[in-house]
Symmetry: C2
Subunit: 290 residues, 2 copies
DNA sequence: GTGAAAGCGCTAACAG
DNA sequence: CTGTTAGCGCTTTCAC
């Protein structure tokens, strides 16, 4: 039999199987764009899912999720058994369609008290707050915050600023740049801080690329980092981390998001009940002497 | 009718459609890993394909494509209409299965005279050669080459070395590191060059992260780059590019690979004949005064 | 043109 | 337990 199979080159048609069994063994993931940091969680998702015979349908929703709704519509027709979403802000229409589809949904990279179904992520507010508390605890007393105009980035910055406000520090210089954050924008942020005359002792960048841009701006002026200026980034952008022993960061385990999401999907497919919200947390990685 | 559709929340079952029409409107892509540079080509692939109603099945083949064969088997059963592959070395079994499937296949990120079907990429030999010729033309006369033990990386280095050999320069210091290339390995490469006593005037790194690691190694010694040491990387790793006005690179348009592949697939699905091999080339981007 | 019927290649339910 | 049969929800063909 095996020989006959080999000779004829037969391999089962999974689309027929999917139709008959109503189990397509697909999970769909919608990410803003594939090259972003968010997509790194997809790696662990794919790998774990692949082990159990599931395949990933990957789609991009574009800048600020502009295409999420239409992409979702296109994808639901393919009857994936689960949906991996980025972020927690989704249109009513998206929510309605997801409700109709009645399949496990996991929102990621954030936390919310009102998830569509499940969430695995961390609190961006807590990140900003922890960043502020960390810098204060290390004795810094003048601050700046730089972010890009993207929801999660802004929320980290806002939490940073408001936490400082609570302990009586209200003159936090804020620099906001256009999404997406990249290296030159970090340099630009540094220039703007310079123009404002009084450079702070510590700056929180809501992104690691931004932090790295600020860093080189400072280094170009022969400043000592973190001596003259402490820089705290976010995300553990490996490259930034390795490049700059001077750059501290709020580190998030990106692969955990994919891994935990995969396990949650598989458990649900298996009929098990699953924790609805998983906070993967974060940690502050100190480098140099900041 | 629209109202009834809206009320019942009906949306067509594409898996039934796929079975009936034998057109699944899926394209599958197999990449070594999602976080690698290779995967950036996937972005443009997905986007262009999505515009035409095609969805992407993404799978990873693991380090040095170890899982490519099994992953392909799992994927062919889903009857994608096209396959996007990374690289040009594929096992006989892979080739056999692909032949049986009789669907368009595009090998990418490389060039070969014997493609399975179509190829879109560039010549790694030419990259190495161009790197050598560029540095020589700029007056450098002592060289080092650093690479990781990955097929394409090695081929760039080998071409670099052999091109220099042809013009009479045979004492090129070579440093080989383990795959995958990362920042610390670049620093390690620099250390090894130092240990060898005589530091060259120019070094070609077959990866941009490697180049950046070498760069910071040099900067740590207060060396002037490119004054004391010219560093030429490969790949246009944006971060490296932005960080270091001192770092030149052999730039490849990664999005072009996905875009061209998508167009080729769509044309073939449409019954058109398509160019079998597309060389997207590369260009040397000079930064600083190197 | 419009409408009914016959698959697509499996899985699952059922009868033997 | 093995063998048969009836769908899964579409597309396509074919008769009208």
């Amino acid at each position: 039999v095996r020989q006959a199979i080999d000779r004829t080159g037969y391999f089962p048609n999974l689309v027929a199987g999917g139709l008959a069994s109503r189990r397509t063994r697909y999970v769909a993931a919608i990410v803003p764009d594939i090259s972003s940091r968010v997509s790194e969680s997809i790696q662990s998702l794919t790998d774990r899912l692949g082990e159990s015979g599931y395949q990933l349908i990957l789609a991009t929703s574009g800048v600020s999720d502009s295409r999420e709704e239409s992409v979702l519509a296109a994808i639901l027709g393919r009857r994936p058994e689960g949906i991996f979403l980025t972020g927690i802000s989704h249109s009513d229409e998206t929510r309605r369609r997801l409700a109709i589809a009645k399949i496990p949904v996991i929102e990621t990279w954030d936390l919310t008290p009102t998830p569509i179904d499940m969430v695995v992520g961390f609190s961006h507010e807590k990140v900003g707050q922890a960043a502020a508390e960390y810098l204060v605890s290390r004795g810094y007393d003048s601050f700046a915050a730089v972010s890009v105009d993207d929801g999660r980035s802004e929320r980290r910055r806002e939490a940073f600023v408001s936490t400082l406000m609570k302990i009586g520090i209200s003159d936090v210089v804020t620099v906001r740049l256009e999404h997406p954050s990249d290296f030159p924008k970090g340099r630009e942020a540094f220039s703007r801080l310079l123009e404002l005359g009084k450079l702070p002792r510590a700056v929180f960048c809501s992104t690691d690329v931004l932090a790295h841009g600020v860093l080189t701006g400072a280094q170009a002026l022969r400043m000592d980092v973190p001596g003259d200026l402490a820089i705290l980034g976010f995300g553990d952008f490996d490259f930034a981390a390795h490049t700059s022993p001077a750059l501290s960061t709020v580190r998030v385990d990106r692969t955990a998001i994919g891994r935990i999401a995969a396990e949650a999907f598989l458990a649900r497919f298996d009929g098990q009940t699953v924790e609805r919200v998983t906070d993967i947390g974060f940690q502050i990685v100190q480098r140099g002497t900041a």
